[in-house]
Structures are given as C-alpha cells and as structure tokens.
Symmetry: C2
Subunit: 361 residues, 2 copies
C-alpha cells in the first residue's frame, strides 16, 4: 500500500510512513502515504471532485489538517495554468486617488474569486517593467495598469508577453494594443475651465503635474481647448509644472501668483495639487472661493471635506474601476469585449472653491 517510491539509495529507515520530504514541505504524497490512499485521490479531494467517497474524503481532509499541508500552486500551475491572481499596477499610493481606484477594482475581482494584488511603481517605468515581468513569471492571470509617467506603448509591449490580458486605465497611451478604460481627461478639464470662464474668469492657469504624465497632457489639452473656444489667446506661461503632490500644488501656486497679469483662477492637475494650492493661498491671506478660484480633478473623498470644499471634476473613479475590472475579466475568460476605449463621463461638482470674478484684475 504505502510506499510507491522505488528509490533504492542507502536503504532508508524501515519506517514507511515518514511525512517529511527533504524540502521540509508536506506534499500531496505525504498525505497519501499517511492516509493510505494514492496521490491521485488526494488530488481529487483537493479539487473537490465528486468522485471520491465521502468517507475517504473525510480521512484525507483530516490528514491534510493534521500534517499542516499547504497546496503548492506552482506545481499545480505547471500542469494546468489557471492563475487566480491579478496584478494592479499603480503609480503612487500616496495620492488618495489610487487607493480609491484600487478599492473599486478589488470589489469586483473578489466577487469573481480573483485575488487582487497591488504593486507600486513610484512612477518609475523601469520599476514598472520589472514588476510586470515578475508578475508574469509568477503566472498572473491579468494586469490592470496605470502606466507610470513616461511609459510608451513600446515599453509596455516589451514587458508584456503576448497573450497576457492587460487593461490600461487612467491614462491612455498612443498606439497601445491594450484596451483602455478611464476618464475622459480632455473633456473633464474642458468642463472645469468652462466653469471658470462662465464665472467671468479670463486669466486661468493650469497648475501641477508635468507633461511626462499622459494624464497631464490630456488635461492640459482640455484647458487649452476651452480657452481657445472662448477666444482667449493662450499664454504658455500659464501652464505651471510642479510635482503632483500637495507641496507641488503650493509651489505652483506661488509661481502663479507671481505672474502678470495676475491669474484669478486655476484648473489643477488633480485634487491633491488643488488642496496644496488652496492651503498656500489661505496662508498667504487669499480667500479661496472669493479672491481666487480653484478647480480640482478626481473628486477624491478629501475634496468634499476640505476647507473650503473643493469644486472638482468627478471622474467616476468607482465606476471606472468596476469597468476596468470587468473588461479584464472578459479578456481572461476569452469573452468578446469592446476593443474601443471606454471613457467614463466626467461631471463638474461645484463646491465652495470657485466664485464669480469680483473685480477684474
């Protein structure tokens, strides 16, 4: 019964039931030996097959429990690769936007018995390739990717082997072979700018981020279009680059205030930048929402709690996250899916940080 191995080295100790393999890990074979069944039976039990008799199943499960066996997915994957985890590759955890996005994705994936796993690129394309490669080496089922700044279609194609399902989100990449699900950055930014124009502002800056982010390029484009549509000649100095952090927002706002003619409002690259700018102004004694107007982008939860509450563009993070996850699942299950980019509706949320222009500068 027990002892199917026919190794003949140095006659091993006569005890046939010896649960430890040299690696120290309990294996399916150890279980089989202890339970006096074949490894195939144990395997069937693990797969919850209906073929095994209840009695046997119980015995096997008990043994598994007793020996503290852990399933070795690597070995299983070798035969039949049905991966069960999905990589969410994001740029910067410090921006609350990403956690919110991740949470939305996780909800959907967990419902489908997939384990979402987050990895942080710190916006470094090189780290990004490394992460993607490692995920791939571990047999990831699919990837949801927020491309790090400066990522080209080429770079992605390079690190993603053919056949691996990938959904690009947040920021589209030109000539990218993967489906895109994300906000309509151009339109959102257009709406933000239009709102300020409607309030009488003419000198409107675009602050924060820089053009190495695809998202930034798109959002600047929206601002540009709105300004042009309003017949305003664009002063390139109004696009003020800075880190997309609170500190960056403050810094950008400082530069903005130094411009002549003095801008009276700003469209911000995102909410975090807007919050930084807002704080800078408050400290400088400028009352945001009266003396200066600010619009953010993303509608992170902090936006509504800020003082003053931030007018912003709701990019529909939650919905977007859901869509991205669903599309990825479709790809994984080889269902048909829309190849066209899926751009979520953006919506202007007016709060307290914008105000009709009082006196013309």
């Amino acid at each position: 019964m027990a002892g199917t191995t026919r190794s003949s080295k140095k006659t091993t100790s006569s005890k046939p039931a010896r649960p430890k393999s040299r690696n120290g890990n309990v294996t399916i074979i150890d279980i089989a030996r202890m339970a006096n069944v074949s490894k195939s039976t144990v395997s069937l039990v693990l797969q919850e097959s209906a073929l095994v008799k209840d009695e046997t199943r119980k015995l096997v499960l008990e043994t598994i429990d007793r020996l503290g066996y852990v399933y070795n997915r690597a070995a299983a994957g070798l035969r039949q690769a049905k991966a069960d985890f999905i990589g969410i590759v994001i740029g910067d955890l410090a921006n609350p936007f990403f956690p919110e996005l991740a949470a939305g994705i996780e909800d959907v994936l967990l419902e489908h018995q997939m384990l979402p796993v987050l990895a942080n690129t710190s916006e470094d394309p090189e780290k990004q390739s490394q992460i993607i490669r490692t995920l791939r080496e571990h047999g990831v089922a699919g990837i949801i990717l927020c491309p790090a700044r400066g990522t080209s279609a080429w770079a992605i194609a390079e690190s993603v082997p053919k056949g691996l399902p990938v959904v690009v989100t947040m920021c589209s990449i030109e000539d990218c072979p993967f489906p895109f699900v994300g906000p309509d950055n151009v339109k959102g930014s257009y709406q933000a700018t239009e709102h300020l124009l409607g309030l009488g502002h003419r000198d409107i800056a675009f602050i924060g981020g820089d053009s190495s982010y695809g998202t930034h390029r798109e959002r600047v484009r929206g601002w540009r279009q709105a300004m042009q549509n309003a017949g305003i000649a664009i002063d390139e100095r109004l696009v003020i680059d800075a880190a997309s952090t609170r500190e960056g927002g403050a810094e950008a706002m400082m530069k903005t205030m130094a411009l002549r003619p003095n801008p009276t409002a700003a469209v911000c690259y995102n909410d975090v930048v807007a919050l930084g700018a807002s704080r800078f102004l408050a400290e400088a004694g400028v009352i945001v929402g009266r003396d200066f107007s600010l619009v953010g982008f993303d509608d992170i939860s902090e936006a509504s709690h800020a003082q003053p509450a931030l007018t912003t563009i709701d990019a529909g993070i939650r919905q977007m996250a859901k869509n991205a996850a669903l599309r990825l699942l479709q790809m994984i299950n080889k269902q048909d899916y829309e190849k066209a980019p899926l751009r979520g509706e953006t919506k202007l949320i007016v709060r307290a940080s914008t105000h009709r222009l009082l006196r013309k500068g």
Copy 2:
C-alpha cells in the same frame, strides 16, 4: 542534437525545430532546440552562470529575445524554492497611514531585490486568512501583517504554516508567536493626553475607532493611564466609538459635544478621525485650537497641512516600516533577530489644534 524528446505518437511533422509546445508557452527547451544547445545550457545562461562561453551565451540570449520567452518561476520554484516576493497585508488603504507605511516597507525591500506586493483585507479577518493562504500557496518569501480588526493569535497561527516568516506590525496580538514591530500605542496616547492635561484640560474624551481594533484598546489604555495619573476619575462615556474615518470622526465629535459636562478636548484614535472631528467643529462654529483642542495619532502627512494644523503623535511610521522590513529580511535569511517586540518611540508634535484651556466649563 536537437530533439531529445522521444515521444512516438503519430509521427509528428518532420520539421525538428518547432518552437511551440502545446501550452502555447515558449519554454527553455524550445530555446535550446532553436539555439542548438541543451536545456541545461539555457538554464545556466538564465542563472548568469560564468560557466558558459560568451559566444554561447550571446546566441542563447538572442534566441530568448527572438522567441519572446518568459521565465517560468513556478517551475523553477519547484526545484529550488527561493521566493522573491513579499506580501504586505494591510487593513484599509483608504487610511493614508497605510500607504505611508507601505511605501516605507517597499523602499527597504526593493533595495534587497524583493518585490513587495500589497493586499487589502478591508479589516476582514476571513479575507485576511484567505489572502495569507493564497500568498503562501504562491510561495511568498515572507509576510508583513497589519492584523485586521478582531484577529486573534489563534487565527494567525491557523492560516500561517509553520516556518513562514511573518512580522506583525501596527498592532500587537497577545500570545502571538511572531515578532512585533510597531509604535508604542499606549505611550503615545499617554503623551497626547498628558499634553492636554498640561494645558489645563480635565474633560478629555477619547474618540473614534472601537475596541475590536487592538490598536484602539492600546490607545485607550494610554489615555486611561494618563487620566488616572492626573487623579481624574474616568467617565466611561468619554470613550466614544465610531468608524475610524473622517465621517466617523465627525459623528463621534457630534456625540462628544452632547455630553455633560462638556469635554473641552479630545484624544483621537488617529489623524483621520481627528481631521473629521476638526471639520465637524469648524462647521459648527467652534474654533479648533481655541475653543476645543484635538490631538491626533500617526502624523500622516495631511496632519501638517490641515487647517488648523493638527497636533498629533508621531509614531515614526517611516522608521517603523523600515524596521519591520529589516526584521522580516533577517528572518527570511535565517539570521538571528531580536524576538522581543520592537516598539518605536512616539513623539508629541504640537501644532495649532491644541490650546490652553480658556474658561473652565
């Protein structure tokens, strides 16, 4: 040379160099065949062994590139398990504290060629076990765990197979076999309370969180000790439970204001709660930092940017993260390590949200 397989089914097409295995994946053997070397040689190249001739190496690498081969870590791990990724299991990405912690851990791990991977339990112990199990099944090298609320030592031991290196952080668990690296919650909370007492406050509430979090229990204990040391009888109604979110903070503060005698200050479960409370007060017309004093906990980056800037306890997130990662690495490398809990120094950061008691309630 090529064609070491001795399969004899249905005489396959006579072409010997056919790079595709039925699985669709390019393997080391396909590379070997195309490059006219043995699989062993390819393996050596992959391991950057000095044994192979430069010429051969070049040829192999070219072939690898040409066929788009991806290393199969599962297969490799089957022989020699040296895992390369580490799980960071956290409770709630929405609390900015966790991303900051994760970032600190990532820094250290990346330096040591380990890939950090984040997983989110949403503070659900069941999801937590599932995550740990899956990580384990994938051959994770080690885990840094912020236990979800309600996690018992038993539950952890249950889901963690013997021998897997685990460091528990943030919140210690009684009778837990794993090393703990985290803040000294009791002391920090004591310092916060002491600060308020020193400013003349007597009616000091503790708001936010609830006792299902170990962290909460510890922080309440600190508050309790400080109050008792100051000879103040403790009114249990002063401990006000609420979600540890901004909304929870607001809600808790609302309840706090309804208490008689009216508390004049509060120690908050964490910064997020404090910020929520602060906003609630501002909206109610109470000026924080004059009419009411608030102390937070964690010193998340937002704390210094808030309006008013938040007095809080610096838990040394960054240092803690570093220590946790280092300790885990020690465990993985089987080096000696301190088994004793490593509790970071907490430091009171006085900002604008606390003020000497003006008029005695």
